[in-house]
Symmetry: C2
Subunit: 496 residues, 2 copies
Amino acid sequence: MERVRCKKLIDKIMSADEAAMFIKNNSIVGTSGFTPSGYPKALPAALARRVENGENIQIDLITGASVGPELDGILAQKGIIRRRYPYQTNPDIRNSINSGKIKYNDIHLSHSAQYLKYGFLGQIDTAIIEAVAITEDGGIVPSTSVGNSNVIVECANKVIVEINTWQPQELEGMHDIYSTSNPPLRKSIPIINVCDRIGTPYIPCNPDKIVAIVFSDITDKTNKVAEIDHNSKLMAENLISFLKAEVNKGRLPKDLLPLQSGVGSVANAVLGGLCSSEFSNLYFYSEVLQDSALDLMDCGKLVSASATSLTISPERLDDFYRNISNYKDKIILRPQEISNNPEIIRKLGVISINTAIEADIYGNVNSTHIMGSKIVNGIGGSGDFARNAYISVFTTQSIALNGRVSSIVPMVSHVDHTEHDVMVLVTENGVADLRGLSPKERAELIIENCAHEDYKKMLWDYYISAKNKTNNSQTPHILREALSWHERYLETGSMK
Amino acid sequence: MERVRCKKLIDKIMSADEAAMFIKNNSIVGTSGFTPSGYPKALPAALARRVENGENIQIDLITGASVGPELDGILAQKGIIRRRYPYQTNPDIRNSINSGKIKYNDIHLSHSAQYLKYGFLGQIDTAIIEAVAITEDGGIVPSTSVGNSNVIVECANKVIVEINTWQPQELEGMHDIYSTSNPPLRKSIPIINVCDRIGTPYIPCNPDKIVAIVFSDITDKTNKVAEIDHNSKLMAENLISFLKAEVNKGRLPKDLLPLQSGVGSVANAVLGGLCSSEFSNLYFYSEVLQDSALDLMDCGKLVSASATSLTISPERLDDFYRNISNYKDKIILRPQEISNNPEIIRKLGVISINTAIEADIYGNVNSTHIMGSKIVNGIGGSGDFARNAYISVFTTQSIALNGRVSSIVPMVSHVDHTEHDVMVLVTENGVADLRGLSPKERAELIIENCAHEDYKKMLWDYYISAKNKTNNSQTPHILREALSWHERYLETGSMK
């Protein structure tokens, strides 16, 4: 009971099955959860039981970003999700999306908050928010992520709080909740330094809006972090050499500028590479903090880190929770509208490092689709950061599927980041610094520095024929051949 | 002499031919000029004469945006430009770019300023700035555009001022010059309302940096505005109906939010359509003000307009200059780093309206390239606005070249605005409101509401086969056919 400090809410405590009755068929449900952290876990199971018992329930599900199997997984399996925004990574839901069963719109993560506040996605009926506590006044203290939770609480008709006792109460104090007004009443966001606190440590909520409080005790299903492989190490080295050279040219301060990194093992490895670099006094202004952030704090190189989600690997989590007091004053968890806000990213001069599925010779990046048609995850926050960064870097291994796929192609099969937003491309083979270059100069550099040896000649052949056939035009393409590598893969299983 | 009020600079007045001697071979030259307004006109001619007289001169040319024939035209003809940033519209330079003679990198216009300040494009040697006057302290009062002029003056080794006596001195007082610091010292930009003035009415400049002052008396070569044709009228009506419906749904205030519009006759016609609408108390926070802004001020509907350039048609210009006092306190001209700044666009909640060359059925927009390879102009500021807008609208006529080209295609041949950044598509046939829709829902709406009758069946055929062949995946494409319409056009002169 110490977790529910608002006395008038004590009588709202009930079972998940009782609370799940508040969710209406054909309604919009918004939940906490970001990069599977801090999402509700007991309520979705109870909702699924209603369907197992014969009810027909269909909902639109809006979250911060990706959530775990207890939410996206089970609801997709039971056919409960009709629409899904703004990001997902769960295999069950991905399959339902790629077979047309679920309507999915992946949205820039910073935009998703204002889409809700502007009313573009309809009226949220029920909010389900995982929390570690409720304050005396009904304020909701989030757990391992903030995401869109504050906006969902603000916009929803009613709120269900799921208090997860597995999440330590010491998380309280880490969050900084601030919400922008809608135009024309919006003001500047008063963050000037990474560690500025501008809001409250809880999500403000009128207690009358809270219709149910449910207790759970279920772990976040964060992803394992793979061992750092040879290629990830090379990518980290290439990136660090590039950053060093920028400092030497006077184009970056010696302690760099705040860093952002995408999510995943490679991103984690690349950031982790900073541990053994000469850089220190680092700051992260990112979306997600992975194990590498803790490593960099442990070795004294990371001063402060701002994000909207903590996604610490299962292996590392116990240690983190045991020593949380060592990290607490170095970490700020913000709403994704703020962690990913273009105003702040541009003001702070963030160096953004995101992962590409494939890049083309002119510097366009695909980060969402396989062979043009099938979505993997979604654009997430990569566009928020890449577009507004001081320097936007994309990393990818030069080949995939044991070399049957080249990650450098004549034309990407789907564009998420245009040639205008990709400044630097890094693979295990090298770096292509594309700033200020014409498309043809970019092509020559990308092929030479980034592509895999097995595909270099094919890329040069395409590029040179395209130049000849288009009379050396600005961005030479042979449209009949531009996507032929992908076609060949679909037909033969290899781009070769 | 009254235009040069800084006494110590009087002896820097010289002929254009003398001043042109300050320009070095192999140097970077930055000039004023934006959407052919306020660019230097006498200096480039003098530079061209040096080349006619046998000198070999090659420069990198950086401007605000497009400039007229006296700058881009003549220098391209004489082969003087080696590299060009960040935007152009001149036929001579376009041909040189599309035949590989000039290296061109089109850059988001708001990014171009920071690229210069961060040092990403190299050291500017000479700035050439068209002005209407120089203040007592050496401050440069720009003429009809600000563009990157303040940043170019800030970064250049030396400055040449071209005082154009054709430009009325009454322009003084219209400008508001503010420059951001580089990270990590950058602050919030204190604009909260469209008409907030936050800077100086001149470009601050140490007079010792000014090496030459030249007088000229040459008109801006702004573009004629075409008569409003039937389709432009329909597009304007469609857009206004959409905006009315948004107000009725409570998703926009009744006086709308600040408007931005791209440049050109169609954009001008679409904005002009507001004159006969029920909307009033309008504000523009835009990049360029065309005749439509004056029309809306004349009919009392436009309260205030902020931009970086005035591009008034030749037919309208005399009248504007005669009555400039009626308009002066309603217009603010800002640096393009500010007029196009994501922080302010998002803060104010700008409604952006930009022009597409083509859009695909999933909502991706091409605004730069013809048939994938040849560039037309460049991305300009469309990305700055579309990405950060409250609502981002793209307009295009459904067909081009008398119907031989469909502006709605299965897959665009070049992507400048991804599916994530295009909220509403408007053609003469109707409106597709894409917000919150899955790619397949978008396709159905775009084909049904926006495409031309002559191409609807072909688009449905492609879309349905793609759905079937990809098992109804997220974004169905048949890669072999996706660009076949463009191929057919290149081979037969028609997409049909």
